[in-house]
């Protein structure tokens, strides 16, 4: 800005000195160069814009248009993930660098279709709806960059959300073919359903070098604390069903079990609990008369009675989330959405986003072995705690589970917080629902400190022009032994403050003394209060009925033995 300003100011002085024919000559030359430049610019941009405009304006791009990449059989396979990986050993922090916004830059690889030498795709489903949603959400977020050279984190467009649909070896080869793969450094993979029969590993089986894994079913043995991110298993019902938020409070049922894939031993255990505690428990299973599919997923049955799922979840205080073959269960998401307190029975399971979320305030974790004691354990929880958990559960769903966008952005935020820990979001920011954020008071001076007397205090006196009363205040306050400094704020532009000790008379002083009794003054102040309250969104002032006095205030006690004998004597 500065440089341009200077240049243009010199311009007019130069031109008049030139002869007219020269001027014309130069202007022509300049125009030619300028036109040339514009033409080059058009040429550079034109083809892109045509293509993009045609494609994007109507959102007609198809996944089938993705370029095909053939994987040679001998194509290299990444190493299996290193369990010792941590941010300081396997992550290149230099790529993220220092930036004033403390925000990482995330690059997404363009979609490609990987096939083996025979032309068979590496995945039976290709890009899933959820992974597509996740990537578009990230590309719309502030983390996104389309400049691969400036990226700190790379996200492949190879969909590995569900391991079942993958060909492990070929997927791994495809990862290794990514242009910036570099041993998986700074690459992030999203996987919600890891492992496969019969053992169901708790982390994605695809070899992935040093890539970070955002996984949906980690156990304490596969989770690399501070490196991987534990994410929820997204429930497709989230997008389909709307459950209005319910006020926390007691529900029709105490415990509800609604999962269909429960091991028979556990189901037997639940049946036993049901026998002991009767109506308080509702034990649902899939409906035998319905065929599989989307419709069946939204019904549950008990002894021939049909219930709507997930709506029925709202009718219970606690909802059981038992491990299946995998530790992560989509049911957790449904349960939270319903504002039902999840009772999680999945030994060694790393709860979603456990790095930042305080699950103790939103769930009950019970060892699988203690399933039979579940009822007793839950009964011992105070009602008010159950209500707080219900509210907390719903908030977790809304903020971190409700969409692929929420899941993706939360994952990136967690990684961001590790790279810029001094700018990390706080516990309160992660865990307090908006209603608590509004009503809670967190004093900036939270440490219970009783300051020593030695430093004393600074008196700040605001004055307009009532000099006499100002001097009176100054005289009185300067007698106080603890006074360290006295600051007078002269709040009058029309008069300059009196100098030194000079006293001058103020005729209107006595008149203004009655200021606070003035009617309009009170009205103005009431208006202020209303305005402030509306801006704060709440009335932060609190009414108390007490006043602090010295211990012996107005007691029948020799005045000279009192520390503060003069108080109240005015």
């Amino acid at each position: 800005m500065y440089a341009t300003g200077k240049y243009s100011s010199r311009g007019p002085a130069l031109i008049p000195r030139m002869k007219t024919k020269h001027r014309i000559y130069y202007i022509t030359l300049f125009s030619v160069v300028l036109l040339g430049l514009i033409a080059t610019g058009m040429f550079q941009f034109w083809p892109h814009s045509i293509e993009s405009a045609a494609d994007w304006s109507l959102d007609k791009r198809s996944v089938h248009d993705a370029p095909l990449v053939r994987l040679p059989v001998s194509s290299p396979i990444p190493e299996r993930g290193d369990l010792g990986c941590r941010m300081h050993t396997c992550f290149d922090v230099y790529r993220c660098g220092y930036n004033p916004k403390n925000r990482i830059k995330v690059y997404i690889y363009p979609l490609q279709k990987f096939v083996d030498e025979l032309g068979v795709p590496i995945s039976s489903t290709g890009l899933s709806r959820e992974y597509n949603d996740l990537l578009s959400a990230i590309s719309d977020s502030d983390f996104y960059t389309d400049d691969v050279t400036r990226a700190c984190l790379f996200i492949p467009s190879i969909d590995v959300l569900n391991q079942n649909s993958l060909r492990i070896r070929e997927t791994a080869q495809a990862l290794a073919m990514l242009p910036r793969w570099d041993k998986g450094m700074n690459h992030l993979l999203f996987n919600m359903l890891p492992g496969g029969p019969p053992d169901y590993n708790t982390a994605l089986d695809v070899p992935r070098d040093r890539a970070l894994l955002a996984g949906g079913g980690f156990s304490t043995w596969t989770y690399r604390q501070g490196y991987d991110v534990s994410i929820p298993v997204y429930s497709p019902l989230s997008a389909d069903v709307e459950l209005p938020e319910r006020q926390p409070g007691p529900r029709r049922y105490f415990i509800l079990s609604s999962q269909t894939a429960i091991h028979r031993e556990y189901r037997a255990e639940l049946e036993r609990l049901k026998e002991e505690n009767g109506e308080a428990l509702l034990l649902l299973d899939k409906c035998s008369n319905l065929s599989q599919g989307a419709a069946a997923a939204r019904k549950r049955c008990y002894k021939g009675q049909v219930y709507d799922y997930p709506q029925i979840l709202q009718e219970s205080s606690f909802c059981v989330v038992l491990r299946g073959a995998r530790l992560g269960q989509a049911a957790l998401s449904d349960v939270l959405q319903a504002g039902c307190v999840p009772v999680i029975l999945a030994d060694s399971y790393i709860l979603p986003f456990s790095e930042v979320l305080d699950w103790k305030r939103a769930s009950v974790v019970i060892p699988e072995e203690k399933l039979s004691e579940m009822y007793t354990i839950l009964k011992s929880i105070p009602h008010r705690q159950v209500e707080e958990m219900q509210r907390q559960a719903r908030w977790f769903w809304e903020a971190y589970f409700s969409s692929m966008k929420a899941i993706g952005v939360t994952t990136l935020q967690i990684i961001n917080d590790r790279i810029y820990p001094y700018a990390a979001r706080t516990y309160e920011q992660w865990n307090n629902p908006p209603v608590v954020k509004w009503s809670s008071v967190n004093s900036p001076l939270f440490l219970p400190l009783i300051p020593p007397r030695a430093p004393g205090f600074t008196a700040v006196v605001l004055t307009y022009d009532r000099v006499e009363s100002l001097f009176r205040v100054i005289t009185e306050i300067s007698k106080v032994p603890s006074l360290a400094k006295l600051l007078v704020v002269w709040n009058n532009q029309n008069k300059s403050p009196p100098e030194g000790e000079k006293k001058f008379k103020c005729p209107e002083c006595t008149a203004i003394d009655g200021l606070s009794l003035d009617q309009t003054h009170m009205v103005e102040r009431s208006e202020c209060i209303n305005k402030f309250a509306s801006v704060f969104g709440t009335m932060p002032l609190k009414v108390v009925e007490h006043r602090a006095d010295p211990v012996l205030y107005k007691d029948d006690f020799p005045e000279k033995l009192k520390s503060f004998p003069n108080i109240g004597s005015l």
Binding site: M18, H22, Y26, L37, T40, S52, W56, S62, V63, H64, R86, H88, Y98, L111, S128, N132, S136, D146, D147, R150, M192, P197, P198, Y200, T220, Q225, P236, T260, A261, E265, A294, D347, D358, K360, I366, E368, E369, P382, A424, Y427, E428, N431, S440, P444, L445, F446, L447, L449, I450, P451, P452, K542, V544, E545, H546, R547, V551, L552, S563, G568
Partner: protein, 742 residues
């Protein structure tokens, strides 16, 4: 024509410049431009991720269930057993290497092996063992124990150290209860030795848990081991010094921004970062000093920088820098942790960690981002910029948090050991464990017992954080010790007066009198329920038992001879609602340091300040009943019971130890003072008249102070009065006018 040429050159140069910047710049701004354009008019030149229009598969097809195969597979119980046998050694977790059943029988009890003759134990380890033996977790019966602690000193496993215990391997294997280390906890401060300082302890720990300093994230078995801070042998066993922050200064900047003073090792590991510190040192507000002087033969290895660095090093005083710096650099040394970490914490100098891979102390429960700056050794050169970018509000908060954490978990060996045990207890009693908020906010996890309640709103500490208020009623607990003989006895008057309070929910009469319970009709009829509980042992401490019948947050504790009016009760309760974590009461007492006798003194004189209010007439949170009963050691409680005295002093000690604040005295009618001071009639007054009574209270004070490790009581000069109290306005305008009337 000179001018013409000049213009020509100027112009072409300009054109070239434009062209160059155009070609160079076209790549970089593309990103921002494209995003900008897109949001403005939907035009997407280089679309980041296309919004595909074709129907895509769900990642989890509706019909894909995992039941079938799962059900055919082994039963979940078998699967758990498989885990237990597979995950051992480095992969130990509570699920696989810990026997929970030992804890479920008798609760969380800790057994310490008896000390063997001829085994030397370092002072630090002795402190650890005595802390456990003095704690409420201790059991002398291994059959009751859930956790076992060795009497063999494992703190220093540096072979070159004089404290090193030899043949530990055989000694441990020969322990009859060792059981491959299952449910054992091993404390360690130093492991490995020059030059590589590995984390090996030099003996097979089997399935034992480690409570270890300087543990690395690679070796740390999460939710199994506990990372503890490195502490010196001078670290006090109990109590411990307070943090150095006496008051908050705003703006929070100190003389220096960032300081460090320490050794630079010329041989062996640990100095990669320290070697580079001089690049960042500016001798003004960033003062990072190293010395090469260590060991006898440092000069043999000295490098080109040594002389210059050593000279600069000697110019500054470590303590002076520590107390006058906003941030303190804590780089790794030989090992990942250093004493410097605790020193900085205590000095309210926000630690800037440069120790990649160090699992910070008590990382399982402490959110270190609230009290420290976790730097990355690789980004050393960015550190000054980083700390300068931290907003002053954040510095203020970081600094206060250092003080909170220091005093809550680190200031004594006792706190470090108890925190370790509480962390393990939280894992064992998983559904009744502390939330992160309880660990990371005042008064900290050691004072917030999850056995009391899992709900934060049931504690006196979190109302403001949760944005809620305590329950607006109280339960009165009257401690009755004399038989009911006449209808004019003070207890009956008291009962009626209290019952009339609009905030009274119920009255509990705790019958601690040897005479049998009076018949029901002898109690006056009141509008609130009166519950009479017969004290089982009729001891003093029973007045502070956490009775389940107390359903309100507030307890009004009363002696049977207390004289109170309904107005006084109402007023005190409204005051308590503003200070739910403190004791709010009427008659006050004070403590002082008697320098002649070198002990604490107790005074009931009518003075200008006080540090206790008597629990014969006081309102406090019911949580303190739980804390009194479960937190305090049996030794103190039985002392109170034997003397039938001092229970109120102990309660004041406890509450002030938790809050670090004085109690609150509210104004009272004159007559009550006279009853208390004049010691007229009534059996209780005789207790106060006893000359021994006063001496006992003196003794109690000193006994309590020694158990707490410091004097927790705090003085106050403030009394809370009703707003118009004794003001020159019509008495009719005053809400609590009865308090002024005689």
């Amino acid at each position: 024509m000179q001018a013409k040429k000049r213009y020509l050159i100027l112009l072409s140069a300009g054109a070239c410049l434009v062209l160059l910047s155009y070609l160079g710049g076209v790549q970089l701004p593309a990103a921002s431009r494209s995003r900008h354009d897109r949001s403005r008019n939907g035009y997407r030149p280089d679309q980041p991720w296309p919004h595909f229009s074709d129907p895509l598969h769900l990642f989890l097809p509706w019909d894909e269930t995992d039941t079938e195969e799962y059900n055919l597979h082994i039963s979940p119980r078998q699967k758990r057993d498989v885990n237990t046998s597979v995950y051992k050694g480095k992969r130990c977790r509570m699920d696989s290497c810990f026997d929970f059943s030992l804890c479920h029988k008798n609760g969380f009890k800790v057994y310490v092996y008896p000390q063997q003759k001829g085994e030397k134990i370092s002072e630090s380890y002795q402190n650890i063992l005595s802390t456990i033996e003095g704690s409420r977790f201790y059991t002398s019966d291994p059959g009751q124990a859930c956790l076992f602690v060795l009497s063999l000193d494992t703190l220093d496993r540096d072979q070159l150290s004089p404290q090193y215990v030899h043949n530990l391997k055989t000694k441990v294997q020969n322990l009859p209860l060792w059981n491959d280390g299952r449910n054992h906890l091993i404390f360690n401060l130093y492991s490995g030795t020059w030059p590589d300082y590995t984390e090996d302890l030099g003996f097979d720990i089997g399935q034992a848990m480690l409570a270890k300093a300087s543990i690395s994230t690679e070796n740390f078995r999460r939710n199994f081991d506990v990372s503890i801070p490195l502490f010196s042998k001078e670290h006090p066993r109990t109590g411990g010094e307070r943090g150095y922050l006496k008051y908050n200064s705003i703006p929070p900047f100190r003389k220096y921004m960032l300081v460090f003073k320490g050794k630079r090792y010329l041989t062996g590991i640990g100095s990669d970062t320290r070697n580079a510190l001089h690049h960042v040192h500016n001798a003004e507000d960033v003062v990072l000093l190293t010395t090469c002087k260590h060991g006898k033969d440092w000069q043999k290895h000295k490098d080109a920088r040594c002389d210059k660095d050593n000279a600069e090093y000697d110019k500054y005083d470590y303590k002076e820098m520590l107390h006058n710096s906003t941030f303190c650099l804590v780089p790794r040394g030989r090992r990942l942790g250093s004493f410097r970490f605790l020193e900085a914490l205590q000095a309210a100098c926000v630690p800037v960690m440069l120790s990649n891979g160090w699992e910070l102390p008590f990382s399982e429960i402490i959110d270190w981002n609230t009290a420290a700056v976790i730097g990355d050794e690789r980004l050393l050169l960015q550190i000054p910029t980083t700390v300068r970018s931290i907003h002053q509000d954040k510095i203020l908060s970081l600094r206060q948090q250092t003080q909170f954490l220091w005093e809550a978990y680190f200031s004594s060996v006792e706190k470090i050991v108890l925190t370790t045990l509480e962390i393990i207890q939280d894992r064992v009693l998983e559904h009744g464990s502390r939330s992160s908020l309880m660990w990371n906010s005042h008064p900290g996890g050691l004072f917030a017992l999850p056995q009391y309640s899992g709900y934060l709103g049931d504690f006196p500490f979190y109302y403001a954080t949760l944005g809620i208020k305590p329950y607006p009623k109280f339960t009165a607990v009257i401690h009755a010790v004399s038989p009911l003989v006449s209808q004019s006895q003070p207890i009956l008057k008291l009962l009626v007066a209290v019952a009339k309070s609009q905030y009274c929910a119920q009255i509990i009469v705790l019958w601690n009198c040897d005479k049998p319970l009076p018949a029901k009709h002898r109690w006056p009829a009141t509008s609130v329920p009166v519950i009479v509980i017969e004290g089982e042992n009729k001891v003093m401490s029973s007045r502070f038992l956490p009775y389940e019948t107390i359903v309100t947050d507030a307890v009004l504790s009363l002696d049977e001879d207390t004289v109170l009016s309904t107005t006084e009760v109402d007023f005190a309760f409204t005051v308590w609602q503003s200070f739910p974590e403190r004791i709010v009461g009427y008659p006050a007492r004070s403590h002082f340091w008697d320098s002649n006798k070198e002990r604490w003194g107790y005074t009931s004189k009518w003075t200008n300040d006080y540090s206790m209010v008597l629990t014969g007439a006081a309102i406090y949170h019911r949580y303190y009943h739980h804390l009194y009963t479960n937190y305090l050691p049996t030794s103190l409680k039985s002392m109170v019971d034997q003397l039938a005295n001092c229970e109120d002093i102990l309660m004041n000690f406890l509450v002030s130890a938790v809050t670090k604040l004085p109690p609150i005295k509210v104004t009272q009618k004159k007559q009550y003072k006279e009853t208390m001071m004049g010691q007229v009639k009534s059996s209780r007054a005789s207790r106060w008249a006893d000359p021994d009574h006063f001496a006992q209270r003196q003794t109690c004070m000193n006994k309590f102070a020694s158990w707490f490790g410091a004097m927790p009581l705090v003085h106050s000069q403030m009394r809370l009065d009703p707003v118009l109290f004794k003001d020159q306005v019509s008495i009719l305008r005053k809400k609590y006018r009865d308090i002024e009337r005689l």
